[in-house]
Amino acid sequence: MRDKTPGGAQPEGWHEQLRRGGLELAVMLAVSNGPKYGLEIIHHLDSQRDLALPEGTVYPLLSRLAREGDLKAEWRQTEPHPRKYYQLTAQGRRRLAVMCHDWRAFSQKIELLMSEAGIQP
């Protein structure tokens, strides 16, 4: 996820950790409303949610999620060429619910720490 917040550069390691941590969740959320193919997922996160993903990392991630049974992948005959669509499986949906819960809980703890430190939103 590219940094688009005002305030300038972020330390590279921190940015990378945050991006890597959120990538899987972001991709699973992107396909939670229905089947999407790789570029569609990238566009969905980039243009609509300002979450630009490194394109070369998305396909290995999708491949792994499909291998683990969280996503179902299938080739569809679309124009002008076939595309591989991904959708959440029942297992993936359960895992997504857990991930969202964990993310919110973690985020709330950080928010609390920030407010204790006097950092305004």
Binding site: L18, E24, Y37, L39, T57, S63, M99
Partner: protein, 198 residues
């Protein structure tokens, strides 16, 4: 944008390198499927670009966003090797995975070095056991030094005798088993951390 023959050649070249890289560790059918998906991505990206006079620059920009084929292949490779290593415990994916992990960070680098040292020392003990009957006067524990191992020329007469063989085999095999379990654990922990949301 509709690609010229030169542009098509560039795309085919990219996909060729990607497929060759993927096939070094993925089954041919899986590699072909991955390449087909990346090709579909490139075709879609090309179709999105408005026709421009400098097709080459536009195409290179587009391929840059995807990343060099070797890097894309490596992203597939790291996950696959690590999963295979943890699931099967086989030596080849384990070693491949450790080499890849070593390049990812300081912790995994030192972890991988420790594992390779463990393997090397374990193999060295077994080698000593194998060499003892071949070079009985050069292998064993020597009081001169004192030193232990296979020494040419021998600094003196080795102590004991053939007792060194079972002891070295036991230590060597024990070290290899412990190291192998440690390596598997290291990869497993790395995989788990990598998949944790934060």
């Amino acid at each position: 944008m509709i690609l010229s023959e030169t542009g098509e050649s560039r795309v085919r070249g990219y996909l060729f390198v990607l497929e060759r890289s993927l096939r070094t560790f993925l089954p041919a059918a899986t590699a072909a499927d991955a390449v087909r998906e990346v090709e579909s991505h490139i075709r879609d990206r090309v179709a999105e670009v408005e026709p421009v006079p400098d097709e080459r620059a536009a195409l290179e920009r587009l391929l840059d966003e995807l990343g060099p084929p070797l890097r894309v292949a490596r992203a597939y490779s790291i996950e696959m090797s690590a999963e295979e290593a943890v699931a099967t415990g086989r030596v080849a994916p384990m070693v491949r995975s450790l080499f890849q992990l070593a390049a990812l960070g300081v912790g995994t680098f030192f972890g991988s070095v420790a594992v390779f040292v463990g393997y090397a020392v374990g193999l060295a003990f077994i080698a000593i056991a194998v060499m003892k009957p071949i070079f009985p006067d050069n292998v064993g524990l020597f009081l001169e030094g004192p030193s232990f191992g296979a020494l040419f020329p021998a600094p003196g007469r080795p102590l004991g005798g053939y007792w060194v063989m079972p002891i070295c085999v036991a230590i060597g095999v024990g070290l290899l088993i412990v190291t192998h379990r440690g390596a598997r654990r290291l990869i497993e922990v790395w995989l788990r951390r990598r998949r944790r949301p934060v």
